[in-house]
């Protein structure tokens, strides 16, 4: 197993309430939560693998498969919803073959639906690799995604 991951397990040893930060930092490190890592976390925290899996699957943040190269989050908060977030999904699917909740076959993009990015005054918004793009139309989004694709 990865040395950095071992160090992580050591760092949180015996700390109260360490399970979620451990899962978060493991995901930061490895990009997702492989089964093996969850078993190690269970062993390190003295809990059963089923318990750790139960915690991990409860929260939306955790992934159990590797991500695409780029991460695209389409905001579906209330403001984005009334300003046409659904239309953005349509553009992603019809123009780029990107489906919500999935990673493209070339592993270029993972598209996620998120509840609210808190940039409601700029609705509708998407976040690509941590950067928020606001006041979008289908056309604008298509241009941005094409740009990201080409830069890759």
């Amino acid at each position: 197993m990865d040395q950095a991951f071992r160090a992580l397990l050591d760092r949180w040893k015996g700390v109260k309430g360490s399970v979620i930060p451990l899962l978060q930092q493991t995901q930061d490190l490895l990009g997702y939560l492989p089964e093996e890592a969850m078993r190690d976390i269970a062993a390190a925290t003295g809990r059963s693998p089923a318990e750790i899996c139960g915690v991990a699957t409860f929260y939306a943040q955790f992934r159990f498969e590797p991500m695409g190269k780029h991460n695209l989050k389409v905001c579906h908060g209330t403001a984005c919803h009334v300003q046409g977030a659904d239309g953005l999904d349509t553009v992603l699917e019809t123009k780029f073959g990107m489906k919500t909740g999935e990673t493209t076959p070339d592993r270029g993009f993972t598209v996620e639906k998120v509840a609210c990015l808190g940039c409601c005054s700029l609705a509708p918004v998407v976040m690509i690799d941590g950067e928020v793009y606001g006041r979008l139309t289908g056309d604008k989004l298509a241009k941005i995604v094409s740009g990201v694709k080409e830069s890759a």
């Binding site: 309430g17 939306a60 009334v82 553009v91 019809t94 990015l117 808190g118 940039c119 409601c120 005054s121």
Partner: protein, 588 residues
């Protein structure tokens, strides 16, 4: 005074392009060797004018610029900073109604100070409240002051903060915790994010005062994972406060010690519920439990715990500084002080606002928000997110206080305010919220788990044009049962969006069911796109944007839309420059 250029660098400012503006200003000021300092601030709230730049001249005069882009930044350096002439067309006037009707207590520093500088916070009476309570007040006196101020929980439920602190102080136990709920999960709400990003020390100071009052030496911030900038700035604030002896052992030489941790949420709406939040800190699935025992008695790791929301804590330092009578003079008899709202949706001027309690909803929408975008008709305001409801335009004169809003069927909520116009379908809004609560239900209570699912199915049938007359009574029956059979606020309030829309917009439900008509022209199954022959110029733009090639035609000839392949995405309607795309609804 120092000559400063302040650039709003909150999440929304950055999304609107503030980073380029900041870099351009820094580079230009350096290149021209101008005697100005470029600083970053948090969000001033005028999100619709982002990116925002404030010029603070050495003579004390200030100029606020809005919608600044790279070219605008260049003009500001050349014309204003070097030339001494303000750039008139980018100026936000000082009497701008968006700002003029507000009363800023919680947001007093947001957009004004650099949130990453404790010195700027200290220069504006920062930590004066903490000094005051540590040097001259007992815990009981602090609680008496907060109780007298009339402060009620800003997370939405509106419980008396003083009373909550009293319970925690009186609870037996050597170890007590103080928790700040920053798991702002309501879609359409960003008040807590803006306060944490814009003035993190104020929240920390409020928490310290609470800890001193109830006798706690350890606390947690539970922050939503989607708010990385808030987490970062909170971390900086904690480190700075520790360096200044305002956090840690024997704070300011007193007998009071306090340690604080930041926990990032992992994406579960239900964790905004206090018992679920504590389960999450403990590293478990975030599922609520039965209350009593309330957290004040048995909370985090079974120790007495006090949990308040970000905005509630941010109100504490100003209350201690100005005194309870001055604070209680603001607002109405039962709702004191101010409330921060995130104003969004179909509003002309969206952003984050702080208004005195007792102001009318209409004043917020029309005077502060400037009414509806594009001159369409104002239909409703959704308040309180998935737990709240829609206040129709006909009731817009309702006053902003806990009790008046509850009487409409909506709630004060945490502060999300999404404005809707005639192009918003109210059945679709109800379906939207139900789909949210349904997927966020933790599954513990049967009615919340399955009842919301059945309600969502009924709403989906109606918006798909497959609804029947039996659906409305079933929705009402299930709504009542979900409400009374759920343990926590998520389930108890999940039916609210359905109940309020049924109460005020019932005709929209029946139109969907009986006539296959969606008056807002929003529900895809009930609308058809077409081309208006008289106005179509044959420019081919619709054909270009259409993702399924349903919109087609030859240059300079009237186009047509093929109904079989049209997916009703509306891109042609959005793109057409001649309003030549029609949308029809209703069975024919």
């Amino acid at each position: 005074m120092k000559a400063e250029i302040a650039v709003g660098m909150s999440s929304c400012g950055i999304a609107a392009g503030a980073r380029v503006v900041l870099e351009t200003l820094k580079a230009d000021v350096a290149a021209k060797a101008l005697p100005w300092t470029v600083v970053s601030t948090g969000c001033s709230g005028a999100c619709h004018r982002e990116p925002l730049v404030e010029i603070r001249q050495a003579d004390g005069r200030t100029f606020l610029y809005g919608n600044v882009d790279e070219a605008g930044a260049r003009r500001i350096t050349v014309e204003h900073l070097a030339g001494g002439v303000p750039v008139a067309d980018l100026l936000v006037p000082p009497d701008y109604p968006f700002l003029a009707r507000q009363k800023r207590i919680v947001l007093a520093n947001c957009g004004v100070i650099d949130p990453e500088s404790i010195d700027e916070y200290l220069a504006r009476d920062g930590y004066a409240a903490l000094r005051k309570v540590l040097s001259s007040m007992t815990g009981d006196q602090v609680i008496a002051e907060i109780t007298a101020s009339g402060l009620r929980g800003r997370g939405g439920a509106g419980f008396s903060t003083g009373m909550k602190w009293t319970f925690a102080r009186k609870a037996k136990g050597a170890k007590k915790y103080v928790i700040c709920n920053a798991d702002e999960g309501d879609p359409g709400a960003f008040m807590d994010r803006s306060v944490l990003e814009g003035d993190p020390h104020a929240v920390l100071e409020g928490m310290l005062v609470a800890a001193y009052a109830i006798g706690s030496d350890e606390g947690y911030f539970y922050v939503r994972a989607e708010y990385p900038l808030a987490v970062k700035r909170l971390g900086i604030a904690i480190a700075q406060a520790t360096e200044h002896g305002l956090l840690g052992e024997r704070i300011l030489g007193s007998g009071f010690s306090f340690a604080v941790h930041v926990k990032e949420g992992a994406g579960a709406f239900v964790c905004g519920e206090e018992t679920a939040l504590m389960a999450s800190i403990e590293g478990r699935r975030g599922m609520p439990r039965l209350r009593p025992p309330f957290p004040a008695e048995r909370g985090l790791w079974d120790a007495p715990s006090n949990i308040n929301n970000v905005e509630t804590y941010a109100n504490v330092p100003p209350i201690i500084r100005m005194g309870a009578p001055a604070y209680a003079a603001i607002g109405t008899e039962k709702s004191k002080g101010t409330k921060v709202f995130a104003l969004a949706g179909k509003i002309a001027r969206g952003g984050m606002i702080e208004v005195p309690m007792g102001i009318s909803l209409r004043t917020i929408v029309e005077d502060i928000g400037g009414g509806i975008q594009g001159g369409r008709a104002f239909k409703a305001v959704q308040m309180g997110g998935p737990s709240g409801g829609c206040v129709p335009a006909s009731l817009a004169d309702v006053l902003i206080d806990y009790d008046s809003l509850t009487a409409t069927g909506a709630i004060m909520g945490s502060g999300g305010m999404v404005v809707m116009d005639e192009s918003t379908c109210m059945v679709d809004v109800a379906r939207y919220f139900l789909s949210f609560t349904q997927s966020e239900s933790c599954g513990k209570c049967t009615f919340c788990r399955i009842g919301t699912k059945r309600m969502l199915e009924a709403l989906t049938r109606i918006t798909d044009g497959r609804g029947s007359d039996a659906d409305i009574p079933m929705l009402e029956e299930l709504a009542a049962k979900v409400r009374i059979s759920s343990l926590c606020g998520l389930g108890q309030t999940a039916p609210n969006p359905v109940l309020t829309t049924l109460r005020f917009f019932r005709e929209e439900y029946t139109e969907h069911i009986a006539e296959g008509r969606c008056r807002a022209k929003k529900c895809k199954a009930l609308i058809r796109f077409g081309v208006i022959a008289e106005t179509c110029t044959g420019c081919m733009l619709c054909a270009k944007v259409c993702p399924t090639k349903a919109a087609r035609g030859e240059r300079k000839k009237v186009h047509a839309i093929d109904q079989a392949t049209c997916i009703k995405c509306g891109l042609c309607h959005e793109a057409c420059r001649f309003a030549a795309i029609s949308i029809e609804t209703g069975r024919h």
